[in-house]
Each structure stands twice: as structure tokens, then as C-alpha cells.
Amino acid sequence: MEFDFATQLGFRGLTILTFLPTAGAVVMLVFMRRRPSAYKATALVTTILTLILAIYLATQFQSDTAAYQFQENESWIASLGISYHLGVDGISLLLILLTTLLSVVAIAGSWNSIKDRGLAFFISLLVLETGMLGVFVSMDLFLFYVFWEIQLIPMYFIIGLWGGARRVYAAIKFFLFTFAGSVLMLVAILAVVWWYASNGGPLTFDILTLQQVGFPGATAAWAFAAFFIAFAIKVPMFPVHTWLPDAHTEAPTAGSVILAGVLLKMGVYGMIRFCIGFFPEMAVKAITPVLILSVVAVVYGAAMSLVQPDMKRLVAYSSVSHMGFVTAGLFVFNQQGIEGSILQMVSHGILTGALFMMVGFFYDRTHTRMIADYGGMAKPMPVAAAFFSLFVLGSLGLPGLSGFVGEFLILVGVFQYAQVFAVLASIGIVLGAAYLLWMYQRTMFQPANEKWLSLKDLSAREIITLVPLVGMAVWIGIYPHTFLNLLHAPAQNIMMQVQPYLAEHSNSLLRLASSLFGGF
């Protein structure tokens, strides 16, 4: 098939997509500094336009190939072989759709809850969106790193300026954890680039070129480790997850939605692109440790959720558990595992985002997040309780909603690889049902707390904010084909990359087994 992906659009779709939010932010800063309704409207319109553009790009996307599409490639810093190279495949496209959708939701959801320094807040959210989109469209390591780091700054301010009581601590912890990981990644980036440049290749930061290289032994081993640690912190995997409960809990609602919905996914995305894309051999060698850490995260996150007295912290720990599923599914390297893992990312983004949104709506009314302070909320707020139940059920994996599809595919994939991990991971699902339903019961039913009887139910704005999330959860739950269709080709591509090493790996597993059990 001869198809020129560079010119399929006829305009610079990805550049416009990435920088449209920043353009909106500039307009707000210059023209409407003192008019809250104007800058809020501009922020909302900007994110909606970005979402529409993302959907348009999705309709133009050729889903039958793993090739990167809508590519743009300009030389940027010639002395180092750095270029402004953009492109997307099915995986990044799906994450872009998620990002643009959640950005709209985050802005609509914080319409009235940000009273202080609103302009700075909405500008931060828009700049953050540019940073996140940039990460997903970059085809150049330098560009990727720039976006990866830049999105830390608005997030740091969002947590630190508009967060809860311990916001300053949470903001610094978030920044330092991620930064420490990413500077190691910087050295790894430099190391692979210079290794290639001094072993016959040109000096280039182009991701596609470097994916073809095949880095040898020692360089690959520790560069893989550096990349992996950076991304594992972001995911976050056990045991480097400790920044997450603080950051998610202290962030304002919109911050939590974006953190859980998109920022965590950047870690997995990085693993796919670099840990697996650059070092397939090392990725195969890492399967067992990654699976062990993932299963620990699944069970540990769920167990921690069970004992949280704070609703937001409970949802935060449930993210650790759900992201454990994602990394487990990715690292078994079969079709179901990989596709389930990416679909689970999208589903988790939608459902956890929605749960944070709901907690935020309750908090706006009651100013408490403690489960013990609630009770009988279904009485004054029946509509909210209905939405909440839907998201809780989706999150615990009820068939027909998005959470089920992802987790099911992941479990099928993991089961094929090693049954024991699938069995252990399913403990997480059981616990998930327990902590979510228990929380729902304690907050929504139980004897009503007199204080809350006069609360108003969700407003029209709040309902409109939630409807797209419900729609997506149901869509993915009932007809996941639309989204899985985008993932077939990239998943095949990942499997092809690791195939040669996987055979060797399973042979060595067999040898290990036969030496242990005396041979067959």
C-alpha cells in the first residue's frame, strides 16, 4: 500500500492540535484578564475545539496499519540532530482522544469550584493539555523529553496553588519524584543517542530511527532500567507509588481528574514506546519482575483502598490497583493482554476521572471527604447517587461498562502467559468490588446524616459534565470494537518486536522448569 501519511491531512493537524490550548491561554491572558466569565468560556471553547479536532483526526486515521500518521518533520536543532517530528499511531490517537475529552470535563467541572486566581488556574489547565498532547505526538526523543518535563510545571502549580490542606507537601513530592526519575531518563536518552552516533549511525534523536537500532547488552540493560524507573514512577508501580495518594488527594478536582486520567497513562505510553520499542530483549527479560510488581500493586492498592477513611484517597489507591492491571497486561506480550491493557487505560481514565469528579461535586457541597461524615446522600441527591453508582459499578468491572472489557482482556492475556498471576490479580477484582461497594453503601445509603438533607442535587452543568463520561463508559462496555480496532495493528507491531526474544525466553523458562522438576 502506497500512502503518504505526511500529506493525508493537507494541514498541520498535530501541531494545531498540540498548541491550540496554549493559543487559547494566550488569548485569555492578553484580552480577558479581569473577566472571569469570558476567560472561562474561552477555556471551554478552546478545549472543545481541540476535542473536535482530535475526533476529526480520528476519522481520517487509517486503522489498518501500525505506521505513524499525520507526520510532520522539520529540522530544529541541527547540531544535535534534533527535529520537530510529530506523528501518531493507534495507541497515541486513543490517548489523545482521552486527553482532549478529559480536558473538557476538567474545565467544565471546575467552573464554580475555583474562586481564587481563576485565570491562572484555567491557563495552567490549558498549558497542561498542550504538554500532555505533546508527549503523545512527539516522534523525537528531545521533543518528547521537553513536553514530558514541561507538563510538570502547570501540574505543580495546580496542586500547590489550588489544592487541599497539605497541598504544598504534595506538590513538591509529586515534582521531585517525577523529576528524579526523568533526569535519569535524560542520561539514558543521551546514552542511546551517543551510542548510536559513535557506532556508525548519524547523531539523531528520531524515535523511529532509534527503534530500528537494536542496542547491545550493557548499554541496553541500564538504559532500559533508567527509562523503566522514570516511567514506573509515573504509572506509578509499586513501590514508587507513594507520591500518588498525596498528589491525587490534595489536588483540586480538575487536577485529580487529569492526574489519574492522563498523566499516569504517560508512564505506560513511555514503556510501550521506549522500554519495549528500543529494548525488546530487555523488556522480555523483565517480564517476570514486572508481573510480580504489577500483581503486588493490584492487591496492595486494593487492600489499601479498603481501609481508607477518605473518599478521595480511596479512589487514589484504587488507581494504583488498576494501573497494576495495565502493566501486567502489557508485559505478557500477547494480543489480548496488550489491547486490554491500553483499553483499560482509557477506561480507567474515564471512570476514575468520573469518580474524582463525583467526589469533587460532593465536596463542593459538604466540604468534607471523609466517608464517615457522609450517609444517606441518596435521599437529597438521587441523581448524583445514580451517576455515582454507575461509575462505581463500572470501576469494579461490571459487564456492560468499560471497566469489564479491559480487565477481562488483561486477565485472558495474563492467564495465557502464566495462570498463577491471573489468579492472584483476580483477588484485586474481588477486593475492588468490596471497597467500592462498601464506600457506596456507607456514603449513599446508611442512616441519613441530618446535616445533608437540605443539599441540592446535581445542577444541569454538572450533569452535562458527566454525561460524556457515562456515554464513553457504556460505549466501550458494549461495543469496544470501535476502539480495539485502532489497537490491532500497534499491538501486532509490539508483538513482532518482542517475538524473537519471547521464543528464547519461554525456552529458558521451560529449561528452568525441567531442571527443577526433573524433565519430562
Binding site: 536543532i77 541541527a78 547540531s79 544535535l80 528531545f142 523529553y145 521537553v146 513536553f147 518535563e149 514541561i150 510538570l152 510545571i153 505543580y156 502549580f157 500547590g160 496553588l161 497541598r167 504544598v168 506538590a171 513538591i172 515534582f175 521531585l176 523529576f179 528524579a180 533526569v183 535519569l184 535524560l186 542520561v187 543521551l190 546514552a191 543517542v193 551517543w194 552516533a197 559513535s198
Partner: protein, 491 residues
């Protein structure tokens, strides 16, 4: 000496004339010193522009002591810009402290002449004389608030440690002369390459002692640990714009000499001085960053941070010696330019706050609390400069680090790069803490700071901010300048 030799030092002659003019004009002025400021500024702009116009020239003058090549041009322009920004930041600050005197401008100009000649010198004697010209002007500048104890202490410390360093370096130079029989860099290089046995018989201990003594003397000037003790006290005591100038100008001049002298005069001992600078860089990075962590005075914190930055730069120098390749040096030059703008900018904002509230603002973190609400522009600008110092992408600081660390990795010193990046992760903490105080905390002490920032200070801060962002986004032109500087160095 021929008449054409004077063209080689024409930019410095302009500055010299201007400096004398400043001193002569000043007595005839009343309170308003705008005239001397204008003279000094015009001279700096003229000297910088003239240097730029002389780019591409390749002249040697005064019996090989001074040259005019792209290397010298690169640094002369940098020094002119740094000094011009400093002057723009100074006038209101000095007025607020009642010390707005013409000598200040003359001394800055003399220091710039010294720095220019350091970058242009290719001879140990010429270099030493230029260094002293710069140093003596600096000692006086540090004591410019002579009625203040801290300012005097600053100057005295600077003078004592500076003279001590000069003495050590002079001893090294005299040993070099003893071994090589010459003071010209190139001649020394050829002589020592023969003397120490390029055939592989090892390097003579005496020559190494000479090399290390020169290195130690220069390490004092760039405030590398363990020769850094003077830095925090000097920066804290000196007038803030002067501290800003010290942290960029003399430091860049010393780095220029380190690169030129060690590449040209001591290439045969590259491996040894490479190791020496690597060890020094690790110490400097650790000491600078760890001590900066515990500072509550922002000016002092910036002093330790400038030590840390010297550490990153020295790591580049070390990698240059270790690999015998000038590539890491390219990164050092880019870093120096980036550092000049962001550090001047950061000190500039502090100077502005001090000018506006001389009594209430005492450079402590606490007095910065809630600045974001009172004067958003100052807070945003200081945040930008601090993020750049921290090395966040999109700013000049990141580009500098990227080039230097990249070159260190290329020199097969991955472990050194790991130390450097981990140390810069530590640094993020203390830079962010300042931002945290400014933006996240409520004010503890109210003082009004006039906004928008106006006059020379506004121009200086705007220029620094624009340069910080432009270098961060499109650094290619800077790279071209660095490459041509290095090319002429090896001719």
C-alpha cells in the same frame, strides 16, 4: 608594537576612554547621574557591537600576547552584555542606598576590560595582568557600600582569598616558565609535550605540579569546592547588582582561560587535568547543592547555586580533558551564555525588590512570602529564572545542561552524567522552594512593591527573560557562534 596592534584591543580602548570620561565628568554632575550611566552604557554597547563587527578577524598582537579571533569576540560580546545588564539594574538600587556614584560605572568598565583581555590573552603574563585588573576592580566594587560592615567584610574576604589564589597561580606559572622556558600558551604546549614525553614515558611530576597550581588558582576564581568558602559571604555582603555581576562575568572569564590555557598550553597533560577537574566538579556539585538546600537567605542560596553551576561546568571541562576532545567545551560555552542571562535575571529581581523596600525586604525566604499576590510580575519573572536555573526544558538552563551532559555522556563518562543529573534534581528542591514561598504562601510582612517594573531595571529583566526563553527554544545560532569560536582557537 605596531599601530595595527591597537585594532586588536579597540573594544577595550573604547571602554578605557569611557571609564576615564566617567571619572572626569562625574564631579561636574549634581544629584542626577544619568550622564555617566549613558556614557558607560554607550561604551559597552559600542564595544560589544564593535567586537561583533570584528568577528571573523584573525589578528595576533603585542608579540603573540593578545589575539583577536572569534573566541575573543564571543566572550567580549558576552561580557559587554553582562555588564550592560548589570548597569541597567544598578542605578535605582544605588540611588535607594544613597551611593549612586560615578566610580561605580568606571569600576565596572575596568573590570570588563580585564575580562576582555583575559579572553583575548594567549600568554600567561598577559593573562595574569588582565586577571588582576579584573580582580582589583572587583574588590573595590564589593566594598562599594563602604559604610556597611558586611560590604567591607565581603571585599576583604574577596581580596584575601583572591590574592592567595593569585599567588598560588603565579607560583604555578613560574614553574611552567621554568620547565617550558616560555610564557606563550602555544610555545608552552609544544615544549611541555616534548618534556613530559609524549612517547609514553609518563608525565613529569614537576610539570604536573605546575599544571595543578594553575588549575587551583583558577578554581578559586570560579569558586569550585573546596576553594569556594569566600563565595557566599562575598555575594551576600556585596551590593546585589555587583554580586550578580561577580557570579557571571569573572566566572565566565575564568572559564574562558581554563579552556584556552589548558587546551593550548597543557594538551599533553590532558588526561591528568581532566581527572583533576572531574574530582573537583563532583565535590563542587555536591557542596554547592547540599549547602544551598539549607539556606534561608535567597541571596546566599543563589551564591551556593552558583557554586553548583560551576560544578556542572567543571564536569564539562573534566570530560574535555579526559576524552582529549574539545566537544564538551562547546557545551560549557553554551552553558555560560545561558547562565549569564538567567542568573543576572534572578539577582536582578532581588535587586528590584530591595530597591523598592530597602527596610522590609531582607532577602529571606519569609520576606518573599506572598509576593505573587503583591507583585505578580516580579514573582513570575523570578520563577522563570529559577526554573531556568533548575534546568526545566523550554528555558536556556535546560539547553546548557543538555549540551554539557550530552557531551559528558559522549566522552564515556556516563556515571559522571548520572551524578550531575541527580545533583540537578536535588537543586530543583531549593529553586522550587522559593517559588513555593512566592506563590503558595500568604504574605507574612506587607510591603508595597511598585508594578509594573520600570526604567532600566525593566529593560534588563525583559532582556534577560527574552534571552532565557529564546536560547531555550532556538539555540542553533548560539551553537554556530560556539563552533566558530572553537575553530579559531585551534588555528
Amino acid at each position: 608594537m605596531q599601530a595595527s596592534d591597537l585594532i586588536t584591543v579597540l573594544p577595550e580602548l573604547i571602554l578605557l576612554v569611557a571609564a576615564c570620561a566617567v571619572v572626569l565628568v562625574e564631579p561636574f554632575l549634581k544629584a542626577d547621574k544619568t550622564a555617566v550611566l549613558a556614557i558607560a552604557l554607550t561604551a559597552l554597547v559600542g564595544s560589544g557591537a564593535l567586537s561583533l563587527g570584528l568577528a571573523g578577524e584573525d589578528r595576533t598582537a603585542f608579540a603573540g600576547m593578545l589575539v583577536l579571533d572569534d573566541w575573543a569576540v564571543f566572550f567580549k560580546v558576552l561580557f559587554a552584555v553582562a555588564a550592560a545588564l548589570t548597569i541597567l539594574m544598578s542605578s535605582r538600587y544605588l540611588e535607594a542606598h544613597g551611593r549612586h556614584l560615578g566610580e561605580y560605572y568606571a569600576l565596572i568598565l575596568f573590570a570588563v576590560i580585564g575580562m576582555d583581555l583575559m579572553a583575548a590573552s594567549r600568554d600567561f603574563i598577559a593573562f595574569y595582568v588582565a586577571l588582576e585588573l579584573m580582580a582589583i576592580s572587583s574588590y573595590i566594587l564589593a566594598a562599594f557600600f563602604r559604610y556597611r560592615v558586611r560590604s567591607n567584610e565581603s571585599s576583604l574576604k574577596y581580596f584575601l582569598t583572591g590574592s592567595f589564589a593569585s599567588a598560588i597561580m603565579l607560583y604555578g606559572i613560574s614553574l611552567v616558565y621554568g620547565y617550558a622556558g616560555a610564557t606563550n600558551f602555544q610555545t608552552v604546549g609544544q615544549a611541555l609535550a616534548g618534556a613530559s614525553g609524549s612517547g609514553g614515558e609518563g608525565v613529569s611530576a614537576g610539570v604536573l605540579l605546575a599544571v595543578f597550581l594553575v588549575a587551583i588558582g583558577l578554581a578559586f576564581k570560579v569558586s569550585a569546592a573546596p576553594f569556594h568558602m569566600w563565595t557566599p559571604d562575598v555575594y551576600q555582603g556585596a551590593p546585589t547588582p555587583v554580586a550578580a555581576f561577580f557570579s557571571v562575568g569573572p566566572k565566565a572569564a575564568a572559564f574562558s582561560v581554563i579552556i584556552v590555557a589548558f587546551i593550548v598550553a597543557f594538551p599533553a597533560q590532558a588526561r591528568e587535568w581532566g581527572v583533576f577537574f572531574i574530582v573537583l566538579s563532583i565535590l563542587t556539585m555536591v557542596v554547592g547543592n547540599v549547602f544551598a538546600l539549607v539556606q534561608t537567605n535567597v541571596k546566599r542560596m543563589l551564591a551556593y547555586s552558583s557554586i553548583a553551576h560551576a560544578g556542572y561546568l567543571l564536569a564539562g571541562i573534566g570530560a574535555m580533558g579526559w576524552s582529549g576532545n574539545s566537544y564538551p567545551g562547546h557545551g560549557v560555552l553554551i552553558y555560560l551564555v545561558a547562565y549569564t542571562f538567567m542568573n543576572l535575571g534572578a539577582f536582578g529581581v532581588l535587586a528590584y525588590l530591595k530597591t523598592q523596600a530597602p527596610d522590609k525586604f531582607d532577602y529571606s525566604l519569609k520576606s518573599l512570602a506572598g509576593l505573587g499576590r503583591r507583585s505578580p510580575w516580579a514573582a513570575v519573572l523570578l520563577s522563570l529564572f529559577l526554573l531556568s536555573l533548575a534546568g526545566i526544558p523550554g528555558t536556556a538552563g535546560f539547553i546548557g545542561k543538555f549540551y554539557v551532559f550530552g557531551a559528558i555522556v559522549q566522552a564515556d563518562l556516563v556515571w559522571l552524567a548520572v551524578i550531575a543529573v541527580l545533583m540537578s534534581a536535588v537543586a530543583v528542591y531549593y529553586y522550587l522552594r522559593v517559588i513555593m514561598y512566592m506563590l503558595f504562601r500568604e504574605p507574612e510582612e506587607e510591603f508595597a512593591v511598585k508594578e509594573p517594573i520600570s526604567g532600566g531595571m525593566a529593560a534588563a529583566l525583559a532582556l534577560s527573560a527574552i534571552a532565557t526563553v529564546v536560547i531555550g527554544v532556538v539555540p542553533s545560532w548560539l551553537w554556530d557562534a560556539v563552533v566558530s569560536a572553537f575553530t579559531t582557537l585551534f588555528n
